[in-house]
Symmetry: C2
Subunit: 304 residues, 2 copies
């Protein structure tokens, strides 16, 4: 174990299963888990888009044989959207969230994350007050159900082309206030932050203890470090806790060109990059704490 290995133990570093596989056959499940372990990650994120296609018990068994943990993520669709003004569409959305929560429970995940509150896509206009309230009510209901199962929700803040409900951390915080449940937290993603936030440090600070999950993606969703994200600024946090860092990379999000082809290479590079940044951030924090302690001792000395 190198020096960088020991510095960020509180933050499991995860990878989206979509980097490895497109579906959950028993063979592909084994492949995804093996690759995740080989690349040195702590956690695998399972997409619950097509819950019925996943043999949850088999996936749970495969994961439990390892030291890996897992999370479950979801983005709703326009025909199953809890922010809709159409009650049938809302009902389909609520059912899908319920199924995703059951999947999370079955595979042993403690977190259900993503765009749980809205369809993941380009809306034709701004969200109405009713959409906002409908969505908050659905998330409140899901949160109560999740609490009983010991599961936490984290709502992903995504860019203007992927939801109209909120696009930056302050909008998400207002939404969390409307929901009013303790086990609902914020899920940040650097790819979206680059489009919507004024910088990379403020949203992390603003979310504070309500930050529950993080997607680490480059500005063009390619190799970390090859784009416009200011990583040092992002990782200059004081209190990441219980936070998953995950290179969110998907072919479904309007990526029309290949930004990577070798998934193992991408994964290894991503993990090394995240670990290096986490290590630097923790060391900087430790130095800052030491400096403060020194200052305190000097101050104590002076007042004595």
């Amino acid at each position: 174990m190198g020096e960088e290995e020991g510095t960020a133990v509180n933050n499991p570093v995860g990878i989206h299963a979509g980097v490895w596989i497109g579906q959950w056959t028993s063979e592909s499940t084994r492949w995804a888990i093996d690759q995740t372990l080989a690349a040195g990650f702590d956690l695998i994120e399972i997409t619950a888009t097509d819950v019925d296609s996943i043999d949850a018990a088999a996936v749970a068994r495969a994961i439990q044989k390892t030291k890996l943990s897992c999370s479950v993520s979801l983005g709703l669709t326009f025909d199953a959207d809890v922010s809709s003004e159409d009650s049938q569409i809302r009902a389909r959305g609520a059912t899908r969230l319920h199924h995703a929560l059951r999947l999370a429970q079955k595979v042993g995940s403690r977190q259900l994350v993503g765009v749980l509150y809205s369809a993941l896509g380009k809306y034709q206009g701004p969200a109405s007050e009713r959409s906002w309230r409908n969505s908050a009510a659905a998330i409140r209901e899901l949160a109560v159900e999740a609490r009983a199962a010991g599961i936490e929700l984290a709502l992903e803040v995504v860019n203007r082309y992927e939801t109209n409900l909120f696009n930056e951390v302050f909008g998400a915080l207002r939404f969390l206030d409307e929901v009013g449940e303790e086990n609902v937290r914020i899920h940040l993603d650097t790819y979206h932050m680059n489009i919507e936030e004024p910088d990379f440090a403020l949203p992390v600070a603003a979310a504070g203890d309500r930050l529950g999950y993080v997607h680490v993606g480059e500005s063009h969703r390619g190799y970390l470090g090859a784009g416009n994200i200011r990583w040092a600024e992002f990782f200059r946090f004081e209190s990441f806790s219980n936070t998953v860092v995950d290179p969110a990379l998907s072919n479904t999000l309007a990526v029309w060109r290949n930004l990577w082809t070798d998934n193992a290479d991408l994964a290894a590079q991503a993990r090394a990059s995240i670990r290096a940044h986490l290590g630097a951030a923790y060391r900087a924090r430790a130095r800052g704490q030491a400096a403060r302690d020194d200052g305190q001792q000097s101050a104590d000395g002076e007042t004595n």
Copy 2:
């Protein structure tokens, strides 16, 4: 005239008419022109989305009374898309481009810019080879027509949610090669560059003399300087020529929150910001040239 005024005379600085008005009545035309002049801009960009609603002769007369120049911009729609595999949809797209070109001619614009080659919106999948060729053929035809009218085309490079044909400068350069017409150039937009390009300097350098038009927009389309664009990096160019710099700001591009409300304040701030950066870039270039001249003289002295 302050020092910064004289440094960037080759680059008319323009503003999108959408900052001022939503339609082109004779009254709103006068208002847009007055506001553009009051804010100190050199050029006004006219959107040709609804060509029939614009009294081109009246707009031309109003502009000609001033020292302003103008450009015309357009993004196609999914029902009139020259990259479509459906010949009827392509034909509607070609007609729309033809009308936009005639509008440009009538209002005295020397440039037709924007997403001329594709619908401006989120496609459901990647572009086919046929779409690519269909679009290039249509742009070639438009370019021939434009050349006869002394008009240049500039194809805007936009992000993944706004076209599937190309999303970065190297894709656009390949497309220009396919088109093969001299009067077709590249239109860059910093807002899109922040999402798709590896940095802000390389795309400008890669486009080189083929860069014809620039939209200057912040990462969240708000006030310049309040977001993630690295302006100094972007303006560190060597050869912007005949380039319009324009704060592209629109309510139609999935902006669900108000990033600005006072359009005059926004415009004045944008122009001052662009002028300051252009001034700095030109001064840096002049210093570099002076240093090279000095070096040349020293070298000459040594060989004498």
